[in-house]
Point group: C2
Chain length 325, copies 2
């Protein structure tokens, strides 16, 4: 793989920015956003030149209780239509569907009847065949699709090679490099991007990146991947997302040189919605427990618990994490 390195003054027209605020941010507040928040986020994303906005999960109502989660855990057509109408904009609408947690045959209807353009299928490496089934259904329904392989920092290289080959032969449009635990350094992002892009070139697909900020590397890893040739870039406003959060939209837009992108609507949104949300105690972002789980390549759940308990006994936390599992 040769690196598709642009210069810092030019821009690559293949770059697409995907706002994942509701979907990944929804993991912080159980998807309980106000309608005002979502409507303003939609408007500000359109104005900022964002290419895709992910509204949340298409979760099965047989598995998840509607009383325990807000609207965007389920992303009913009516809920999305209430925000976007006919979505007469250049921005496309995305949802995420988890393997094993989505009644896709029932809930993912024909694209011609839907507000949704892109279905992103999230899978672990051992459920790739099921993910491909879902992709085949979605492609038949007319959608753009991606497969997002989670927790790859724990996958064996040989398994990943096999998974990529299976995905390459599927009808999926793109594949995402996902750093679920925020454990990867830029060198590893480069190596993985090389692997993913080789498959993507062979089968004419694109590659995306979804980074987490456990080690304060979400933005760094995103621009490293972009520099390497990855083209779909996930970001969330203020980095809102599970645990240490994500690459922030305002960071990414301040880096990208395509004049279609505009940071001003995002700054307005931060002022109006994120500042009060944080003041109300909704919590995400880098701290020492996330650094520790990230560096140890662990699921962030223990660090989320430590953060909620406002623990500052960092040494005990470190020793606990060393002992566990």
């Amino acid at each position: 793989m040769e690196k598709k390195k642009g210069s810092l003054l030019s821009f690559r027209p293949d770059i697409k920015v995907v706002d994942a605020t509701i979907r990944d941010g929804g993991l912080v507040n159980d998807f309980r956003f106000t309608e005002d928040f979502i409507k303003d986020l939609y408007k500000s994303n359109v104005e900022a030149g964002i290419d895709y906005m992910e509204f949340g999960y298409k979760a099965s109502k047989d598995i998840f209780d509607e009383n325990e989660f807000g609207t965007w855990k389920f992303c009913d057509e009516d809920s999305i239509r209430n925000i976007v109408g006919d979505n007469d904009t250049d921005m496309k609408i995305a949802v995420m569907a988890d393997v094993g947690r989505c009644d896709y045959k029932k809930d993912i209807i024909s694209r011609s009847d839907s507000a949704i353009d892109l279905v992103r299928v999230a899978t672990y490496i051992n459920t790739i065949p099921a993910a491909i089934h879902m992709v085949e259904h979605c492609k038949n329904m007319g959608y753009e699709t991606t497969i997002n392989i989670m927790a790859i920092s724990n996958a064996k290289e040989s398994e990943l090679d096999e998974a990529l080959e299976l995905i390459g032969q599927s009808p999926v449009d793109g594949i995402y490099l996902v750093d679920s635990y925020g454990s990867l350094y830029m060198e590893q992002i480069d190596e993985l991007a090389d692997k993913y892009l080789a498959m993507a070139d062979k089968y004419d697909k694109f590659v995306g990146i979804h980074a987490h900020n456990n080690q304060q590397l979400a933005f760094a890893n995103t621009i490293a991947a972009l520099t390497y040739g990855v083209s779909y870039l996930d970001a969330t406003v203020s980095g809102m997302g599970r645990g240490a959060g994500n690459c922030a939209s305002e960071q990414l837009l301040s880096f990208l040189k395509n004049p279609k992108y505009d940071i001003i609507p995002i700054l307005k949104f931060l002022e109006k919605h994120i500042v009060p949300l944080k003041e109300a105690g909704v919590t995400w972002g880098y701290n020492i427990p996330y650094l520790i789980t990230g560096q140890m390549n662990r699921h962030p759940r223990s660090a989320i618990a430590a953060t909620n308990e406002k623990r500052t006994d960092y040494l005990n936390f470190f020793l606990e994490m060393n002992d566990k599992d």
Copy 2:
């Protein structure tokens, strides 16, 4: 320049970690640290395997009023001796001396009578000849020396080439790549590291990196530079430093693979000293105003003022910064 890329499992014996907490952190609190803080930091740095600890500035008492700053603005021999005694450890002691703000001929005495091992001379690109005079004095007094060229993101390439050549021909031991405004991306760090290392190889010197966190890239840029062959790495506990702060010691030590480094003493120090310091309202670290000045390649002073005023009118701040200068 060929990259001196190690693997993520091995370590490079040329790597040295330089703790700059008192010096750069002193810019946050006018160098007013308790003796307990400094003694514990010294002890924890020794235990953590830190290679150099910078105690502060050697500032001229003719220029700066001793009543307006704490001890570590001046770093008298007695002050350092009070902490380190004969410094019977493997850790060396550093101070910073600014061109034009240090009575070096008077205040920098013979190394054999001093607790200090390394004098880091901070200079702008237009005062390199004065910096070299200072280095010559310090070398004659027996010290290790570095030249740290500040604000290079605003220097012309031709000026930087000329500066590096002058520095190469001087007796200095090392040269620092300094991202004063936190404006550089990893691609630019790579290009600058390439330039600095070419000079360093030609004249048998080493290269260091001092990064700032305005765009949450201090750690990323530090490990990018390290991967490229830079060997002296500045860090501060919890990233404590002017404005958005620095690469955090705990981040860097969690990355480095040399078994001499130990994160545990740093975690203890964070608990005992940094948590209460932050609770007392001493403020540093990434926020939106720093992102804006970093991305615009500006001095952080406006963002520091905005942070002190707790401003969240990000759009106004952005527009002000666009108007200024």
